[in-house]
């Protein structure tokens, strides 16, 4: 009997020490944007393209803008998108721009703890400093709502937030956007949106047992979405074989009408109504251009005038130069 007690106690001590070390493990990289000035219009457009508004507003229940979204039921439990209005108590009114940038680009809370990847920060790591200042300015225009957000309701062991640090070390992905000068502006803009802000892969890439995105099956579909929805493969090969073109895909991203005439429901209906449907026509064409261009080929499709002008006026993200200097 005694022979068991000592290893048990030792085991418990090591476990406690391990948890202590993990819990103290700093995951945040400091950001100093200070009082950097932002453009509300560009920020609002980025907030729309990145799904901030769609996820953090409970549109179906008539909820106030950014005051907390509809719960997301996943295999890990229920996630509740929090109140992001400028309310100092229940929202993020007492945050600084630097804290906001760390939250969005790194997935780390102001208290140094990690966010769950239900918050799709993995796709936002390449947002530039200017993007962050613009977003922050746009977020500050929303009326504060003094209503607390319900807590996540997660199953053990996913309810242990310190475990996320281990998750990050093993599973966290980062969005990769590499400007290609030989490609059209539309293709490059599409790459930014698909791999970054618009985070198509959050649904269209399958996730492993612990919710990590499967880098080997990028955009190849996911049969296990929250709420029982399925996301089909949107790999270039599959899209082309099904007959998609830049024109009909850009149209589908506005209207939901697919090739055969079915109108998309499920969570894509919301992604369209609250997201892609509110983007510029140029950006929808850019998304389609990028998705439909086989790797190693130069993008084909519609003329890029519309996409180019949208990049100038309200891209909500830096152009090519900004992409290179951005990120963290």
């Amino acid at each position: 009997m005694r022979s068991l007690v000592v290893p048990l106690i030792l085991g418990a001590i090591f476990a406690a020490a391990g948890i202590f070390i993990v819990a103290r493990w700093p995951i945040m990289e400091p950001v100093t944007l200070g009082m950097m000035e932002g453009d509300a219009k560009r920020g609002a457009y980025l907030a729309r393209s990145a799904g901030c508004v769609a996820c953090h507003t409970d549109v179906k229940m008539g909820g106030a803008a950014m005051a907390g979204g509809a719960p997301l039921d996943t295999p890990f439990g229920r996630f509740v998108p929090p109140n992001l209005t400028p309310d100092p108590v229940h929202g993020i009114g007492d945050w600084t721009l630097d804290q906001f940038a760390v939250a969005v680009r790194q997935g780390v809370r102001p208290d140094g703890k990690a966010y769950y990847p239900a918050f799709t920060y993995e796709f936002y790591n390449q947002f530039t400093d200017q993007d962050m200042a613009d977003l922050w300015t746009a977020f500050r225009t929303v009326p504060p709502v003094s209503v607390p957000t319900a807590q996540h309701d997660l199953n053990f062991p996913f309810n242990l937030r310190w475990g996320l640090k281990l998750w990050r070390a093993r599973y966290m992905t980062q969005s990769e956007t590499t400007p290609v000068m030989a490609q059209s502006d539309a293709w490059n803009r599409g790459q930014q949106l698909v791999n970054g802000a618009s985070h198509c892969g959050a649904c269209h890439t399958k996730r492993g047992l612990f919710g990590g995105l499967d880098a080997n099956a990028k955009l190849e579909g996911n049969t296990n979405l929250p709420g029982g929805s399925k996301a089909p493969s949107i790999s270039t090969e599959d899209l082309l074989s099904r007959g998609w073109t830049v024109a009909n895909m850009a149209y589908a991203l506005r209207t939901g009408i697919t090739l055969g005439g079915d109108v998309l429901g499920g969570s894509m209906a919301e992604a369209i109504a609250q997201g892609t449907g509110m983007l510029t026509e140029g950006d929808r064409e850019a998304i389609a251009t990028y998705l439909l261009t086989p790797s190693g080929q130069i993008s084909v499709g519609l003329p890029t005038n519309a996409a180019a002008s949208s990049m100038d006026s309200m891209a909500g993200m830096e152009g090519m130069a900004g992409m290179e200097s951005g990120g963290n």
Partner: protein, 218 residues
């Protein structure tokens, strides 16, 4: 295998039993699948026309609008009696739990299909002079894409900060399916002054709103 199913279906229908769909649906489930499929066919045929990719055919478009009208509204809701949902059905329980929302959308679809029929003679662009400036379609910019000069009107790209942040609804939101029924005022729309593609897109918004709430999967 396929042949034996076909033969089985022929025998079944020849015996006067309910016909079998490819997915095995029977009775009202089959009827509503047929209705939905008929509307899907219309949407699939009209979409390229509304994009200006195929020649605009007023008669075909009118026929399509009439098909949607026939399968929407009362014609649709009567095919959804409250009963245990068979495995072959894509309906979700919320459809009966929020019956008023569902039947509102079915009615909205019928009136929008009627509106589409009124807008179809206008063709791909809104007639001059444009309607009230706050109407989204009136502010559409013409596409300047090569070969599509008078084809598809572009939706406005000039949303305000408040609209983008979800604080204020978009200009046409109060007339479409994206808002709650009590906030909807479809009566203010003048379809006779609307480009057919704009009326067609209203129909698709209603399909999407209904599918996202009351259809299983996507």
């Amino acid at each position: 295998m396929k042949r034996s199913i076909t033969i089985g279906a022929i025998i079944a229908s020849s015996l006067g039993a309910a016909a079998f769909a490819h997915s095995g649906a029977t009775g009202v489930v089959l009827e509503r699948m047929n209705g939905m499929s008929a509307m899907k066919k219309v949407m699939g045929e009209l979409a390229p026309m509304m994009r200006g990719e195929v020649p605009y055919d007023v008669a075909a478009a009118q026929k399509g609008a009439a098909t949607i009208m026939a399968h929407a509204g009362g014609g649709m809701v009567k095919l959804f009696p409250e009963e245990a949902i068979p495995a072959t059905s894509y309906a979700v329980p919320a459809l009966w739990e929020r019956w008023d929302d569902f039947s509102d959308l079915a009615d909205l679809l019928e009136s929008q299909a009627f509106g589409l029929a009124m807008a179809i003679p206008n063709g791909l662009t809104a007639p001059q002079p444009p309607s009230a400036p706050h109407d989204m379609e009136a502010m559409n910019n013409m596409s300047d894409m090569v070969g599509m000069t008078d084809a598809v009107a572009q939706p406005t790209q000039d949303l305000t900060v408040a609209q983008l942040m979800g604080v204020e609804p978009t200009a046409d939101a109060h007339t479409n399916a994206t808002v709650l029924p009590e906030e909807r005022e479809s009566s203010s729309l003048d379809y006779t002054m609307m480009a057919a593609p704009a009326a067609f897109e209203r129909v698709s918004q209603t399909c999407a709103a209904c599918h996202s709430q009351f259809r299983r999967g996507s």
